[in-house]
């Protein structure tokens, strides 16, 4: 069983902050799990083989998530992308959210989805497949200072 947790170093950011978001994927089960540990962030519209993590960022009370705006050049995961996670162990990955979305001043909420659809075996272990969604965290981007 896997869980995904997001965290930010602070709640408020300046407009030009990189906004470092940490995602932690933890094996909450009692047995080891072989997981796709690459945790590559990409657009929801990208082929599933080119992404493991997508973000759902909403602004204020909007229901629709913001569009993923970056362009990511990435291939399929390689055998070394898969790691055995012991019970209780977690892997973390930091994303500079500001590089992927054009965010302006306002209040935001972000949740993440980790998924792996790749069938991969190593010895007697078979890679975990499925989807896990994090709880949302909120943050604020302040107004730009007048020049």
């Amino acid at each position: 069983m896997l869980s995904l947790t997001l965290s930010l170093p602070q709640r408020s950011f300046a407009p030009d902050d990189t906004l470092p978001l940490t995602a932690a994927l933890q094996n909450t089960g009692a047995a080891p799990l072989l997981v796709n540990a690459r945790l590559a962030l990409n657009a929801p519209s990208a082929p599933a083989v080119f992404r493991e993590v997508e973000l759902r960022i909403t602004r204020g009370g909007d229901a629709a998530p913001l569009p993923f705006q970056a362009r990511v050049n990435i291939g399929a995961p390689q055998p070394e992308s898969f790691q055995l996670l012991a019970a209780g162990q977690e892997i973390t990955r930091v994303y500079h959210v500001g590089s992927y979305y054009g965010l302006t001043a306002g209040l935001y909420s972000v949740a993440a989805v980790y998924s792996n659809r790749q069938d991969y075996e190593r010895g007697s272990e078979r890679a975990w497949q499925g989807e896990v969604v994090s709880d949302a965290v909120t943050f604020e981007i302040g107004a730009a200072r007048p020049a």
Binding site: A40, P67, V72, N73, I74, H96, S99
Partner: protein, 222 residues
Amino acid sequence: MSLALIFLSTGPAEEPPYPSLHRTLGNHDDLTRFVSDHFYLGLPRIRSPPVAAENKGGGGGGGAKKALSREEEILKLIKAGDRNGAILKAIELYNLDVSAIKGTPAYDKLVSGEGLTSPDGKVTIGDDAFSSPGWLASSIGHEALHAAQLQDGRWNDHPESRGLNEVEAYDYEIANASQNGLSDKEVAELTSRREAEYKQLPQSARDRVDNGDYTPPAKGDK
């Protein structure tokens, strides 16, 4: 079952990435030539044929220092851990047009894959780009093309835009594969990625791409 077998194989048993082309084109050289001849009129390209870099350390004193090839110069920087230096050297020695990129492309260990172009036009290069000098040059060129798409208004939030932008960038890399000295394996990897993105597009967009038109619909269009 091996992961590589599922995702990376580009053997003849798979559906070809250019269904309409593979009837007459049999190998990567032919494909590269076809894409170069038909799909890259007016798009940013490598400006001139690559040349071996001169070793500038001799100072004209008659020392017979062997000129390093561009690959050797860049490999030296990569091996020394100077990834930003390798990026700049690749831009110089492979004559890459990076004029549309905002600022200087820079290495970022947090970037997944080969590279990332941000919505503000900045480019960051990830660890996977450094597997060979040619692959690094090709990957920088890929992101430079995205920056050009952004500058030219061919990048927007329409659902088709991302895929069209990626197919165009992979076609650019394939068209310049020979100039960048890419290996057959590297070209096969690009072809595989291009195929995956192409298959995600709706048929109307595929038809446009087959005719060399990568322009995405306007943001509000259906």
